[in-house]
């Protein structure tokens, strides 16, 4: 692994199903983020983690949960998917506040 990796790359999911989007980084970054990107709405922050063991809510947290058991992994879970959660999801990480965020390649999720 080099950098930050998301899985899966794309997914079609039936409404009501549970889904976990995976995010792993090998840069020992402290901060990690989950965003969703929708046309005309830009990148909206779902949840974030400033360090392992802590998480916080972003702008659009409803219907999503996260955990940060260790530095490298930051999974995003949709407990019961709904069509409005159809989006492209980006995971990002950053070493500290003075540095930029590095992004994964994104996960295109379609809830039908």
């Amino acid at each position: 692994i080099a950098g930050i990796t998301q899985a899966p790359t794309s997914q079609i999911l039936a409404a009501g199903r549970r889904m976990t989007l995976r995010c792993t980084q090998d840069m020992r970054h402290n901060a990690m983020y989950w965003y969703r990107q929708d046309l005309g709405l830009g990148l909206r922050l779902i949840h974030y983690s400033n360090t392992a063991g802590t998480t916080g809510k972003g702008e659009v947290p409803d219907g999503y949960s996260v955990s940060r058991a260790n530095t490298d992994d930051f999974p995003l879970t949709l407990a019961s998917a709904v069509p409005s959660q159809t989006s492209v999801y980006f995971c990002a990480s950053s070493l500290d506040r003075s540095t930029e965020a590095f992004f994964g390649q994104g996960t295109r999720l379609t809830v039908v």
């Binding site: 005309g40 990148l43 909206r44 922050l45 980006f90 506040r97 003075s98 994104g106």
Partner: protein
Amino acid sequence: AQTVTQSQPEMSVQEAETVTLSCTYDTSESDYYLFWYKQPPSRQMILVIRQEAYKQQNATENRFSVNFQKAAKSFSLKISDSQLGDAAMYFCAYRSVNSRDDKIIFGKGTRLHILP
């Protein structure tokens, strides 16, 4: 809460010309970082340029430069000698230095078209 506003959903520029993308933000903090990211059709997010709020000098990176007006809370991106490869979605982002919560807030983006 901090907000970032990009008022131009789309812009077009002739190849080799100069274009400026606008970004304004709202914050009560005095120390922060501002970023411009580029997202080409590949969906990859690429850092274009970064500005530290306590630095008066505007950041530059080759053909990319910013006009940072702290009092006006404005952070525009100027692209000189536009190239076809500059066609992308551009996002402005804000990051606090001192707040308890380390969030990175993005604007809605500006889609830039380069006309040959």
